[in-house]
């Protein structure tokens, strides 16, 4: 038992601590608005995990991931807007009946499922064209940047259907038998979903599939010569990541009770990328810890110094990235790795010495061989 416990990497203990903290947070006696904010942060953790799969593990940096998040949020947002016929933002534009393509969304379950499937399908569609045509690296990032911009313009221009810059309000916490869930009940629903997502991602990243993803990040062209088709793997990972991003949007919007155009923008995507970078890429823990730290730092700093909190946060982020390029958790994992492999590394040196002694003996013993490689 002790041996198996020792085998668990240090960051998995940090994960457990983080989740315990999340679970007991509402019991610590903070004011309600703090608990409300924590609920949004937990929803954001799901989002950060989904992006970590794509960026941290597979090396695909997306600047448009918030669009997939927004697809989840907007589906559930529209659902609550159309409960009592066409909402004000539609009638203002002369649409007095709920458009037929919105009607199925009136049912919450349908809206929820669409909120999951739409970003997944979108990721598959986009991934198919991007990865099959061998677009990779920075070009993937540029395409996602364009996507984010197009999506934002689309939502802004389709005011009659999306309420444009005003966003969608009045999103309820999934009413069961008429009444929306209480704030505390919803908090634990989001926390439970986050833990499920985390466990799923642990399974995924520990599987051979996850290791192939890492191999693609490390050396995509080499992966092909081992018989893998990297495009297929990237499409599947993008789809899973899209699904989880949609899920996080579906969790976030009711916690916030609204979803706005800002939350699908490049800025929103970048913010999550920063959270992951600060926490550390490609280990899930970094996404969780980074999101917790940055989101809370953001809100607490802005309360303390409303005018220049961005400046302070910016400097802190720069310092962290400068001194710990692999992020906080990445740094901790590296330290643990170098302690763990200290003995093995001594063996590298030993084996190198062995090579020398073996070949020296051989030079003397087997003259023909010795000649053959010193002759060149």
């Amino acid at each position: 038992m002790e041996k198996t416990l020792k085998k668990i990497p240090i960051n998995r203990w940090i994960d457990m601590l983080a989740f315990v903290f999340i679970l007991i947070f509402p019991l610590l006696g903070f004011k309600q608005f703090r608990v409300d904010f924590m609920c949004q942060v937990v929803a954001y953790i799901i989002f950060a995990i989904s992006l970590d799969l794509l960026w941290g593990y597979t090396g695909l940096m997306s600047l448009g991931h918030a669009v997939l998040f927004g697809m989840g949020g907007y589906m559930i947002g529209i659902c609550f807007q159309i409960q009592d016929g066409a909402p004000a933002f539609m009638t203002r534009e002369g649409i007095n009946e709920v458009p037929s393509f919105f009607l199925p969304l009136k049912n919450e379950t349908v809206a929820f499922i669409v909120g999951l499937l739409l970003p997944t399908a979108f990721a598959v569609f986009l991934g198919f064209f991007i990865f099959k045509s061998k677009v990779s690296g920075v070009f993937f990032t540029i395409i996602t940047l364009a996507l984010a911009q197009i999506a934002k313009d689309f939502v802004a221009n389709q005011q009659a259907y999306t309420n444009g810059f005003n966003g969608l309000q009045g999103i309820l916490r999934y009413p069961v038998s008429g009444e929306p869930l209480s704030k505390i009940a919803y908090y634990y629903v989001v926390a439970a979903v986050a833990i499920l997502v985390y466990v799923f991602c642990i399974f995924l990243t520990r599987s051979r599939f996850g290791k192939v993803a890492v191999s693609i990040r490390e050396n995509e062209s080499r992966v092909k010569f081992l018989g893998y088709n990297p495009a297929k793997f990237k499409i599947v990972i993008f789809a899973i990541s899209g699904f989880l991003a949609g899920l996080s949007g579906l969790m976030y919007a009711p916690a916030m009770s609204s979803i706005t155009i800002e939350e699908i923008s490049v800025t929103a995507s970048t913010f999550v990328l920063i959270c992951i970078a600060v926490g550390g890429r490609g280990n899930l823990t970094g996404a969780i810890v980074g999101t917790l730290l940055i989101q809370w730092a953001k809100v607490l700093l802005s309360e303390q110094c409303a005018n220049y909190w961005q400046l302070i946060l910016g400097v802190i982020l720069l310092l962290i990235i400068f001194f710990m390029p692999q992020g906080i958790i990445g740094k901790i994992i590296n330290v643990q790795y170098s302690i763990k492999t200290r003995k093995s590394k001594e063996k590298i040196l030993e084996s190198e010495e062995n090579i020398s002694s073996v070949s020296l003996n051989n030079k003397q013993g087997d003259e023909e061989y010795g000649n053959s490689f010193t002759g060149g």
């Binding site: 599987s207 051979r208 599939f209 290791k211 192939v212 890492v214 191999s215 490390e218 050396n219 080499r222 992966v223 092909k224 010569f225 081992l226 018989g227 893998y228 088709n229 990297p230 297929k232 793997f233 599947v236 790795y337 763990k340 492999t341 093995s344 590394k345 063996k347 590298i348 084996s351 190198e352 090579i355 020398s356 073996v358 070949s359 051989n362 061989y369 053959s372 490689f373 010193t374 002759g375 060149g376």
Partner: protein, 247 residues
């Protein structure tokens, strides 16, 4: 006559007007060890690229076990037709442990579905252990590949190719950049491979070739200049001229 394991027919490739490979014919039988030699720019690595699908030929074709594999994608050639390749590099996964590098190369789990439900069984563990011992890296299996010495990285990649369980192994300059000691060990390692596998070795170093070669093909400026046993090649006046001129 039975079909050869690999047959290259009238293969040519052009890079913006420059004929890197010009009408090359090769026939490699099952169990054979073939060495491709030639001065820099002779087209040795380009032939490896053409066989493994990295480069598409402008003319000619490649047959593997009688099947035309010309222009197929690298992952199909590696996965379906089982041609394994070691690059000139060493070309390994830097930020992954030695163990994972070998594990990811194991054949038989290359589809998305199979990779999701792959389990590291005792049998697989034994296989990987034996392989790591063969390439002398078992003791340092939990170290990241990026921390290995140049020679150890070359061995790791040779190990990855063996893990693929290929029908044909192409080793592109397996001793490039190695110290004399490392070259010696690598020679030993490759000798272990011979006999069990069909191997094509691309080499630059004539002395290394002497140790391992059965049949040698000499390339020069994209053409086959000579083919025969090492002794025949050594005495060939054309080959001597090319090598004297270039070295």
């Amino acid at each position: 006559m039975a079909t050869a394991l690999l047959e290259v027919k009238n293969l040519s490739v052009e890079f913006s007007g420059f004929k890197a490979i010009n009408n090359v014919n090769l026939k490699i039988e099952e169990g054979e060890v073939r060495v491709l030699i030639g001065p820099n720019g002779a087209g040795k690595s380009t032939i490896a690229d053409l066989i493994t699908g990295k480069t598409k030929p402008t003319a000619g074709s490649v047959f593997f076990k009688g099947v035309d594999i010309t222009g197929k994608s690298p992952d199909e050639i590696a996965g379906k037709y089982k041609i394994g390749r070691k690059f000139q590099g060493p070309n390994v996964f830097d930020n992954m442990t030695v163990y994972r590098n070998i594990e990811i190369a194991l054949s038989g789990y290359t589809t998305v579905w199979k990779s999701l439900f792959y389990r590291r069984t005792t049998e697989i563990k034994k296989k990987i252990k034996a392989l790591l011992e063969q390439i002398r890296l078992y003791e340092i299996r939990d170290v990241m590949a990026t921390e290995l010495s140049h020679g150890q990285r070359q061995w790791l990649e040779i190990g990855m190719v063996i893990a693929q369980n290929p029908s044909l192994i192409i080793l592109d300059e397996p001793t490039a950049g190695m110290t004399a000691e490392e070259t010696f060990k690598t020679g030993e390692m490759i000798k272990e491979l011979l006999g069990e596998h069909t191997v094509i070795v691309v080499e630059h170093d004539m002395d290394f070739v002497r140790q391992i070669a059965q049949t040698v093909t000499v390339l020069h400026q994209g053409r086959v200049l000579a083919e025969g046993t090492f002794e025949e090649i050594e005495k060939d006046p054309q080959v001597i001229q090319v090598y004297l001129k270039d070295d």
